[in-house]
């Protein structure tokens, strides 16, 4: 690991000021991805600004929903009583991610900021436009079993690896951000971005900004929620495809549906067209299959990940069946 200077801060303002002072500085929270990237030489900040002492680890009820502090640990959020009661989808997604040790370290904000696990991104000897713009994409014509089928560009087909973010996208969360110019909020679905011509940018956070909290509005989806993650082993692996499904069902009919997929795009992939297909329809396998077909419009595979064109719709149907209680 390259040398760096370490600064410990305990307020929002000093954190933001510390980053503004040093162009190569980065915030350090749980470190589970950042330290790994630094060991691999993918990222080499000359200063780490440790924000773990900031008072941003609480989960609290607001008038309209729950607010989760950016420094709340993944393990704490996953087992929090308020989260389990109101947003079981989020709890399930978090518990499906990483390992118990990593969940004890990783934070909500850090989970959002984690980089892709594309092997071409991690291996300095191989080309990657995300790591080194203009160098080319090794995954396009290479080993791309884990890669995206939606929203890809000529420059990058990497996927965002988070489970938590899939649930937060489906739950219509918003992100509270503080920066040198004050605070702002953005819809969770607009936090991460597609690669386009600038795959080096994972998200819309501006340089020097700090994630403060995530707000999730109350809904009526808690009784019919399921996160289904398909992976190469039963636990502790990144998703090939994952689906977060949450339904409001009354008298056998779907009043409202939320669907998002992981492992298929550069950002958590919200399935708005499929949601529209589900709305107002009976909660049957036939309806779920139609929704899955709608969800797959525009999908494109790259050889190694051709199987995802079949796996993804099947996973959508299975997640909806379990969520609706019609297994």
């Amino acid at each position: 690991m390259n040398q760096f200077t370490y600064t410990r801060v305990s307020t929002k303002d000093t954190a933001i000021a510390a980053l503004a002072k040093d162009k190569t500085a980065m915030f350090l929270a749980g470190g589970t991805n950042l330290i790994d990237l630094m060991k691999s030489g993918v990222t080499s900040p000359e200063r780490l600004v440790d924000i773990n002492a900031l008072p941003l680890a609480t989960i609290e009820e607001t008038k309209t929903g729950l607010r989760i502090g950016a420094l709340a640990k993944n393990s704490v959020v996953a087992e929090d009583k308020l989260i389990l009661k109101h947003f079981p989808l989020l709890s399930q997604a978090l518990s499906a991610g990483a390992s118990p040790q990593l969940r004890n370290m990783a934070t909500v904000g850090g989970n959002m900021m984690q980089r892709t696990r594309c092997h071409y991104f991690y291996d300095l000897a191989l080309p990657c436009n995300k790591r080194q713009p203009g160098r080319g994409c090794g995954a396009l014509g290479g080993f791309n079993r884990m890669h995206a089928i939606f929203g890809t560009s000529e420059l990058c087909i990497a996927v965002h690896p988070s489970d938590m973010c899939v649930a937060l996208t489906a739950l219509d969360a918003t992100v509270l951000i503080a920066g040198p110019k004050g605070e702002r909020t953005i819809p969770f679905g607009e936090f991460h971005r597609l690669p386009g011509t600038t795959p080096e940018k994972d998200n819309t956070l501006q340089r020097g900004e700090l994630i403060m909290a995530v707000d999730i509005p109350f809904n009526k989806l808690a009784d019919h929620a399921h996160y289904l993650k398909v992976r190469d082993r039963a636990s502790y692996a990144f998703a090939l495809v994952s689906v977060g499904a949450a339904l409001d069902i009354s008298g056998g009919n779907i009043r409202e549906a939320r669907l998002a997929m992981g492992g298929v795009a550069h950002k958590p992939w919200r399935l708005t067209e499929a949601e529209a297909v589900l709305k107002g329809q009976p909660a049957t396998e036939d309806t779920f299959r139609k929704a899955a077909e709608a969800a797959m419009k525009g999908a494109r595979s790259f050889g190694g990940n051709d199987f995802k064109l079949t796996l993804a719709p099947n996973t959508i149907v299975e997640a909806l069946k379990t969520a609706s209680g019609r297994v």
Binding site: F4, T7, R8, S10, K39, N52, S99, P100, S235
Partner: protein, 210 residues
């Protein structure tokens, strides 16, 4: 906020060290050195030399023993334990948070020490496999791993045991399936998993305090 934290507030590594070096190297340069060295000092090269070796104070309690150390910010907790404190029971497997061999407890929570910068453990309690037994009396989980042959080569065992203790403490050891899920962060290449699950079930059902 604790006093310790208050004192540490807005603390930046190497500040005092750096200014000390700057002053001392200037004095040395003036006293001994050819003009080139004086010039180098004036140009701030000593800043770079200082940055390359800057050390941070670290006060951390490891297995009940208070340690007052000076370390580089880039040292991981795993390397501090093994290379500086000779606590080699904690193993380095992948060094990337994928195998769990480096699992230790920080303030009672299991974590990967390979992804933990040692400087971030300021003021905390760290427990390693060496701190689990009471003198000659093994911790119930250590005894259970022996009783059930919960290992072959033994390299992953310290991490497995540290993780297993927390698996029970967290309340995730009620069935073999649950144990397998909540022990998934610890890889055993010998494949001793079934015996490891037996050992954890045994401790859980035995009801001894872990």
């Amino acid at each position: 906020m604790s006093d310790q934290l208050k004192n540490a507030e807005e603390y930046t590594s190497g500040t005092s060290r750096r200014s000390f070096l700057k002053q001392s190297s200037l004095i040395t340069a003036i006293a001994l050195a050819p003009n080139a060295v004086v010039k180098a000092a004036e140009e701030g090269l000593d800043e770079k030399i200082a940055a390359a070796i800057e050390q941070m104070p670290l006060n951390v309690t490891i297995n009940g023993v208070k340690q007052n150390l000076k370390i580089e910010p880039r040292v991981t907790l795993l390397d501090l334990l093994r290379e500086r404190l000779q606590l080699t029971g904690t193993k380095k497997g992948c060094d990337h948070g994928q195998c769990g061999a480096c699992t230790v407890h920080i303030d009672g929570q299991r974590v990967n020490s390979c992804l933990t910068l040692a400087v971030t453990t300021e003021g905390k309690q760290v427990t390693t496999i060496e701190g689990l037994a009471h003198g000659e009396e093994l911790h119930p989980m250590q005894q259970a791993f022996l009783d059930h042959d919960g290992f072959q080569c033994g390299y992953c065992t310290p991490g497995q045991i540290m993780s297993a203790v927390c698996c029970i403490r967290e309340g995730h050891a009620d069935s073999p399936e649950e144990i397998r899920e909540y022990m998934s962060g610890n890889i055993c290449r010998c494949g001793a998993y079934s015996n490891i699950v037996d050992a954890i079930m045994d401790v859980k059902q035995g009801g001894k305090k872990v």
